[in-house]
Symmetry: C2
Subunit: 344 residues, 2 copies
DNA sequence: TTGTACGCGTTATCAC
DNA sequence: GTGATAACGCGTACAA
């Protein structure tokens, strides 16, 4: 099965290459008869046009790329489906680009833009690099999705919830339930993204309720576990450590639902009951939170809506329509059975 | 920020294009001094080579593609990480290619092979197409990973557990626990992949224990829910329907852990206890199964090992080393707290 | 060690 | 309606 090119197809059909090209690309100016004949031999010989050559020659291409670091994060699952659907609906092609742990998202984006003649880019889960300088190399519109980190958020189009505020909302609720010893499971020390924002919200809520901030209640992911900050495993480990530390607490607030599940399991394993002995709260509003037993109190991020808004904003930017470039969505506090009010 | 090409870099440095090319690609025959100078101006002008042009010109490229339909399936999460690690370790590049629901994996593979000059391909989660004919268009080695479907498995390299056997193992165990009314939550009627295999295992186990096969206990995903066969939502819905049907049962075997979790939730919502009132079993051995409360009895597929074996086999094929082309791994029955023995 | 020229497979611009 | 032919941006003989 040898690589067959457009030239050979042309020769086989006794026509010129441009005619074959016209047949492939549904050009209007072509005889139906010859087109049919060409398509037949194409099928017969399994000719497949080389995309590299196409992209090289073409100047535009109607394709949108979605870049994700940590593609297997369940938080992204539903959003990916929405992106796929929305982009296809606009008759654009959708490229899902996985960014490896050691790679820089923007570098990948710059490359991909040239390679595929992109029309637009979505950075799902935000940007970890601080080199905003690089973003200037992008010549097509892009939207940062689900992260509202300071400097990026202030300068570039994004769609997200207000992580700080939503986190405060959650901890406010926990305080109102009478909890004063609320442990938080959060990202590593050097995190400057949503981990930091959610921690800030936690601190603000405590302050608002006159509860002193206690470092011992702040449990951070260990640095070597970079790949898995928001996992069940991590929630489990941190909770075990918390219990073993002897630190007193009545409630654990994990900054992701997966971590919350891990926390629950650690408590169950220690023979504790939830919420009778301890209250547990998460963040994200994943299906997992609703299906866990007990259902986990969480902040629901409107993932599908945010994904839709991301694409809408991106296309507005592409079409140069006026648009709100900084879109903040409301999260929703979902009260599950994993938390309860305790006597003051 | 205009598109700058290799020619302009050459002009800027007062050298020929080939010298620039040599600098970029770390060719040995180049003066250190001129190389440094070229790299400097490249950085200064943010020159990025166009990948399409490169791929077009190059004949080989040391890259492996992993194709996945339904990339957000949690079953694949860990495997993707292993693929990434193993492929990078061999100094190959790793391309994770998402295949859309309506696309044919093999078509995508054929295109990608030409476009990126692939060295090898992994079909993760198997092939849904039955057109083996198409596979002949692939000129590089490929491995089908985690699926052992008949005709494909008999003709092509694959790595998987024996789905039928493992499923039988699970249902055997459930029968030995004294269950005789075992419901199964499985894929839609038209599924001919692992859904069918696991159903066959179920039937065999029942037969071996002299238990009649009862269609009413077989609950299938509805066709319109194509995207989500193995989800918690589906497990929940099917279990609700099962309960409402009035059908008697003491145990539910779901062919994925996620579905099992959904089944648990439906029972909890109905005020039932697990495993006191009903036993629940899953399949896959996801972290979720272990972290759920109660921990779910499941079949652990050795995902990491299978991913490693997939890459090993693929490279053996690439290097034309002799290798076992059909690798079957053992699953492990993990007894959780979601099942119990009942009095005969 | 370096530069020139050609070709990779396509599409688009011309003439015919 | 159709067929040469010139790009697209890069790698690489080959010559220098």
């Amino acid at each position: 099965m040898e690589q067959i090119t457009i030239k050979e197809v042309a020769k086989l059909c006794g026509v010129g290459v441009s005619t074959v090209s016209r047949a492939i690309n549904n050009h209007p100016d072509i005889n139906e008869e010859t087109k049919r004949k060409i398509m037949d031999t194409i099928r017969q010989y399994n000719y497949v046009p080389n995309n590299s050559a196409r992209n090289l020659k073409r100047s535009d291409s109607k394709t949108i790329a979605v870049l994700i670091k940590g593609i297997s994060n369940p938080f992204f699952a539903e959003m990916i489906q929405v992106f796929e659907r929305e982009i296809n609906q606009k008759k654009y092609s959708f490229v899902l680009q996985h960014v490896e742990e050691f790679e820089d998202e923007v570098d990948v984006a710059v490359q991909l833009e040239k390679e595929k003649r992109l029309k637009g880019i979505v950075f799902l889960g935000g940007l970890s690099s601080h080199t905003n300088e690089k973003l200037k190399q992008l010549t097509v519109p892009f939207v940062i999705s689900t992260v509202d980190v300071g400097e990026l958020a202030s300068n570039y189009p994004f769609v997200a919830v207000d992580n700080e505020k939503e986190s405060r909302k959650m901890v406010d609720y926990l305080c109102e339930c009478g909890h004063r010893k609320i442990a938080i499971l959060t990202a590593a020390e050097d995190d400057e993204s949503i981990g930091l924002l959610r921690l800030k919200g936690y601190q603000q809520a405590l302050a608002a309720h006159g509860i002193p901030y206690d470092q011992n209640l702040v449990r951070r992911t260990h640095k070597d576990a970079c790949y898995s900050t928001y996992t069940m495993e991590n929630g489990y480990t941190l909770t075990k450590e918390l219990m073993e530390s002897g630190q007193e607490f009545s409630c654990i607030y994990a900054i992701s639902d997966s971590m919350a599940v891990g926390a629950c399991k650690a408590l169950f394993d220690a023979g504790k009951r939830i919420p009778e002995d301890f209250s547990i709260a998460g963040y994200d509003g994943l299906p997992l939170a609703a299906f866990y037993q007990p259902a986990i109190t969480t902040i629901r991020q409107p993932r599908a809506e945010m994904a839709e808004a991301t694409i809408r904003l991106l296309f507005d930017l592409i079409k140069k329509k006026p648009a709100e470039k900084r879109q903040i969505f409301e999260g929703e506090l979902i009260k599950g059975q994993s938390t309860r009010s305790i006597a003051g």
